[in-house]
């Protein structure tokens, strides 16, 4: 008897709690953020959440949107499609959000877009870059350029630097192999020759075995993509194996340099431009003060996504249909943390400002475009 009473109490409490979350959404504009708070690549994910929060705070501090504050609701995707869908279903249905900002690989972002499309909701992509994401016009908008654009530019860049033979070294995931495919196509179109494509498993203690072929093949250059602490291990393996070819990479800012002295002048790459703007610098300082470290690029992508969403809501209204109408207008003339944003008809970023970098004196320094 006591047990069933307890159970009944628990049910009442739970439903009371649920009712509360529903009501809290009334007096604010709820916006969903889906990020992998557990699983892989958590640090970049948290940076993304912080970026979205920073933009929302800024809007709220200046009085909100027509008096209404933005309420950010963060859900965990665990870097798994099923959990991502569960999070999106909850946000759309329970919290009644019209739009979600998503951090996560394509395997998380694509299924969310797949379910948001028939539901008539809006997805703002701040990290995934598979070219397939362009298949959801009117649903999915990206604040970062997709692989087809960055990969092609990387391939062009390497070819224009006078490189004839190259080896690719990328992590064995969608981001790595997607960029590799596009960059390799552009590179070979310019007459370059790809000697080998290496896709390494993440998290290994040592990549010497993976990189040994490079030692033998002696390419003019290594073309790469990657992020986080794995890149440090990869660089160490290359240095130890005496592989002295220069590295041309996409997004050098998310690489972890292992030995600055060895890396001197050896790491080059192209990154999303605009991060030297006054806005980006202010944000970087603010985030460094708040969280103790300079944020990764996803912070700025999320910041731009949230700001654009705010502008769209201000222009048209809070429903998903309003936002869909408002976003293309909001983006016009917008100077964000990642520069000006041009969207094509699909809502994907084209002609992104690209900056070129070379690693010198312990940091990435601007380099001339090819």
């Amino acid at each position: 008897m006591r047990k069933s009473l307890l159970a009944a109490c628990a049910v009442v409490l739970l439903s009371a709690g649920w009712g509360e979350t529903g009501q809290a959404a009334e007096d604010a504009i709820p916006v969903g953020v889906i990020a992998n708070l557990t699983g892989t690549d958590v640090q970049s994910s948290l940076d993304m959440v912080h970026g979205a929060q920073a933009a929302a705070d800024k809007i709220n501090a200046s009085g909100g949107i027509k008096g209404d504050k933005i309420k950010v609701i963060v859900e965990d995707s665990e870097y798994r499609p099923a959990a991502g869908i569960e999070a999106a279903t909850k946000l759309f249905d329970v919290n009644k959000v019209s739009a979600v900002l998503v951090f996560g690989g394509s395997s998380v972002t694509l299924p969310i877009a797949e379910m948001a499309q028939p539901a008539g909701k809006i997805v703002l992509n701040t990290s995934a870059s598979s070219a397939k994401l362009g298949d959801y016009p009117g649903t999915l908008y990206s604040t970062l350029p997709l692989d087809d654009i960055v990969g092609a530019q990387l391939g062009d860049y390497v070819a224009k630097e006078g490189v004839h033979t190259a080896v690719f070294i990328v992590p064995n995931n969608t981001f790595g192999t997607g960029l590799m495919d596009k960059a390799a196509a552009a590179f070979t179109a310019h007459g370059g020759k790809v000697l080998k494509e290496i896709a390494y498993s993440e998290g290994q203690p040592d990549y010497r075995a993976d990189l040994q072929a490079v030692q033998r093949l002696k390419p003019d250059a290594i073309i790469g993509a990657g992020y986080g602490d794995d890149t440090r291990t990869v660089f160490r393996a290359a240095r130890e194996l005496g592989i002295n070819a220069p590295w041309y990479v996409a997004y050098p800012s998310i690489f972890a340099v292992e030995d600055p002295k060895w890396m001197e002048g050896r790491l080059m790459g192209l990154d999303n431009g605009g991060l030297d703007s006054p806005l980006a610098k202010t944000l970087s300082l603010q985030a460094t003060k708040q969280y103790g470290a300079a944020p990764r690029p996803n912070y700025y992508y999320a910041y731009d996504a949230m700001t654009l969403l705010g502008l769209a809501i201000e222009k048209e209204g809070t429903t998903a249909a309003d936002i869909k109408k408002g976003l293309p207008e909001a983006v016009k003339g917008y100077q964000g943390a990642t520069g000006s944003i041009d969207w094509d008809a699909r809502g994907q970023r084209i002609n992104p400002p690209m900056d070129y970098f070379v690693f010198r004196n312990g940091a990435l320094q601007p380099a001339p475009a090819p």
Binding site: L46, A199, P205, Q212, D229
Partner: protein, 295 residues
Amino acid sequence: MLQILINTLIYSGEIGIIAVGVALSYSVLRFANFAHIQFAVVGAYLAFTLNQFLHCPLVLAVILAAVLTGGIAVTVDALVFSRLRDVTPEGKMIVSWGVALLLRSTMGAIFGSSSRVFGLEPASLQIGDAFFTSLDVVVVVVAILAMILLHFLLYSTRLGTALRALASNADLAATRGIPARRMVSLMWFICGAYAAIGGSLFALESQLAPNMDLIILLPVFASVTLGGLSNVFGAALGALGLSLAQNLLIGVDFGSWFSANSWSVPTQFRDFIAVGAMVIILLLRPYLARRRRAV
């Protein structure tokens, strides 16, 4: 080729120290202990905390972490496994997975899910055309010393004799007055300590994350299976064999044998080799055992 052998030694050192513990507990307690992998992760986190937050010198930090993890292992045994004597081996395996989950999430809750690095800068060394670092030398030396110490413990002390007696016939050992309870606790201590050393070496070479257990799990269990599950030094040899197979398959240019084109097994098949070896050896096991009996 020399490079491949050196790579093999380094990786098998890291995996081997962890694998011997799995084999040791298997030989005495007769179940595959998934929680053992997590001891390695816990040990690495303890070493990290001692070194980075409490500013212990690294060597001392690893030794203290090994002792503490040994203590954790003994506690886990006292609280959980010692009370499950009558449960089937499969049941114990499931419980050990529960212990692993609990330890893993505790690490995640305390340290967060993002990865951390020790940030060592080891010196580069070279023999012929093979390259390695001072840290690699430390890994291999520690692994060899650990094996010698373990051999000494098992074959030249009364503890070892008692443990081996327990492993071959627990009932007989108990009737002959061997204090089984205390011996098993000691065994858990050794397992925990060895796992912690292996985990720390692994983390020193790469990075530290709560989910690194899944990266260690497959090669360790593959090594233990290759060595015959309950054979402690078999597990070390298994680690060596597995590491050699992985490095050979990934590192050797098979394409050049047949044509001018270079081709080797794509590196993403690394885990594949480990799991594949494990399954094949398990499947062949009944036949291998029969042949051994016939001889």
